[in-house]
Symmetry: C2
DNA sequence: CCATTACATGAACAGTACTCATATCGAACT
DNA sequence: AGTTCGATATGAGTACTGTTCATGTAATGG
């Protein structure tokens, strides 16, 4: 009979599987254990009487049946999400104000496209991006001057809720042909004697300085630049080294404009979170914005990874 | 958050609810108890934070939120079903032979349109309708001369599986203005002294005779006609009484061509089942045909009701 | 007004989807 | 080869959620 017990959960699983390229990675996205995904997949295959993924292939390859189900997922899940959005609007109204403060300079790159696709779905929400560097953006939240803050520092504060966005790697940038490019990864001492090119922010807000160089007692001279391209240009013209998120430099790496190396054996990983007033946590248009941003990020940004408790 | 735990089950529930017009009727369609549907509905409404049905309204009226979810169901569920069909085809192949024997004359009326919509979905299946009256159509199954038999008599036989289609009421037909039309329902003795107009089948295949008149010792004279319209014509011209399925005469009743009355206080209810070789029970193109027929019947035929174990 | 029908509710049960712990597998590296 | 490491599979146990059963309550119609 066709009473095959298929559910949206299964479609979400298959989608995550194909996007993540493996059971373990898919499990993270779904906030499940690897075991759960493995079991669920097996059960689904048994119920359908068809294999869905080519076992032993990295990244996981879907079978014809798997691809057919994935097509269903791509067709149906957006419809479901749209319906749930509409229901949220019915429940909470469809208007609101959404002022966003951003701590990190490179975030504008991916925030803008996410905002665009969000606007399509919540046209009545007033979107605003707060400009300039903020010393304490969380304060803006509590003073009701911002509704959402993108930050890399989720220190608990009363009345503030943090939602994890993603983890990303900070890469050290060298000019092509630099002597350090011979190394697989860089150590703190490798930075000694080089100028560090950064955005114009206090030193204690630079992950590289705070977490790597300062603990090792290394204090290289700094030079500041406002724009990402300016930093890259300075590196390329051998004025110093820089450290930027992997996603921000990926296009320049491809063109060989600069060279990137991990910082430390396992790389220097940072996180981004969204902060909002706990009182607003229930607002659908806010929650959906975070959702949109995250979805958009994972679709667009290379080399990012999910965080515990995140999406 | 939008992680609202909605599932296809819920969409199926809402669809059944709107089609059936009530919790109890929906439960029957879904092969669940009324309690299960009630619980599920309540849980869904709680999860969404929105009422979905207007309590206290017959037939059940959906709220705006309910209608939005129903729209989702109508959009998504056919896609799901199509995908499952495609998977069946991947598993079992998409071709097959489907020869149908029909026991009941009036069945052609609704079988034809169902066959048409089935052909759209399984174009490679060879569809055949066996003509003429069959004394023992089940024998045709076992002799491999038919693959599917529509019958009202699901007596267990080795190697044969029965799938319930639906229950329907046999209505007694009178000419307009007939004396018996004054009664709310007819009793066996009311048939005494009237000619009984029937299809040309043995008496023991007529539910009215076998289950009502014969037990009461009443043996009215019979007159046979091949076509439904002919029977109706004879009744209208006062040559006798007849008993036909409610759905078959509904259009004629509307036009006042004949008058119908239940047979007995609770009416004379009969059933239709599909018989197939147990060996074929797993074949997707067969199972899906039965599904199509049933879906089609419930959508098109007035006054039929689901059977235990049926769809 | 009582009988009937439809829906709601609570407790108990059953089935299922998880997690945890452990085993197996395959590839890369000595 | 053997070893190590990452990724997937498997089994047992658990927590949870969906379902049923039994009963209560609210409307409906003769």
């Amino acid at each position: 009979m066709n009473s095959t017990h298929i559910e949206l959960r299964h479609l979400r699983l298959l989608q995550a599987l194909s996007e993540a390229g493996g059971v373990t990675a898919a499990a993270e996205r779904l906030h499940l254990t690897q075991s759960a995904v493995s079991h669920q997949l097996k059960a689904l295959e048994a119920a359908l009487g068809l294999p869905l993924v080519e076992r032993a292939a990295r990244p996981a390859q879907l079978t014809a049946a798997g691809r057919r189900l994935l097509a269903l997922a791509h067709a149906a899940l957006p419809q479901v999400d749209a319906a749930l959005r509409d229901l949220s609007k019915l429940r909470d109204g469809d208007a609101g104000e959404l002022r966003i403060a951003v701590e990190c300079h490179t975030c504008y790159d991916w925030l803008m496209p996410a905002m665009d696709s969000y606007r399509d779905v919540w046209p009545a929400v007033e979107l605003d991006l707060l400009g300039g560097f903020q010393a304490d953006p969380i304060a803006l939240l509590l003073e009701q001057q911002a509704d959402l803050v993108v930050t890399s520092d989720p220190t608990p504060r009363a009345g503030v809720t943090y939602v994890p966005l993603f983890g990303f790697e900070m890469l050290a940038l060298l000019p092509p042909g630099h002597a350090l490019a011979a190394k697989k990864w860089l150590l703190p001492r490798d930075f000694a004697g080089h100028t560090l090119i950064t955005y114009p922010v206090p030193e204690d807000r630079l992950d590289l300085v705070r977490r790597v160089l300062a603990p090792a007692g290394i204090k290289p001279p700094r030079r500041e630049a406002q724009l990402t391209v300016a930093i890259l240009q300075l590196v390329a013209s051998r004025r110093g080294l820089a450290a930027l998120p992997a996603w921000a430099v990926a296009p320049y790496l491809e063109r060989g404009y600069v060279v990137a190396r991990p910082i430390g054996k396992h790389g220097l990983w940072a996180e981004l979170h969204v902060a909002l007033r706990s009182a607003d946590a229930g607002r659908a248009y806010l929650a959906d914005f975070i959702d949109t941003v995250r979805r958009d990020s994972f679709a667009r940004l290379p080399g990012i990874r999910p965080l515990a408790g995140g999406g």
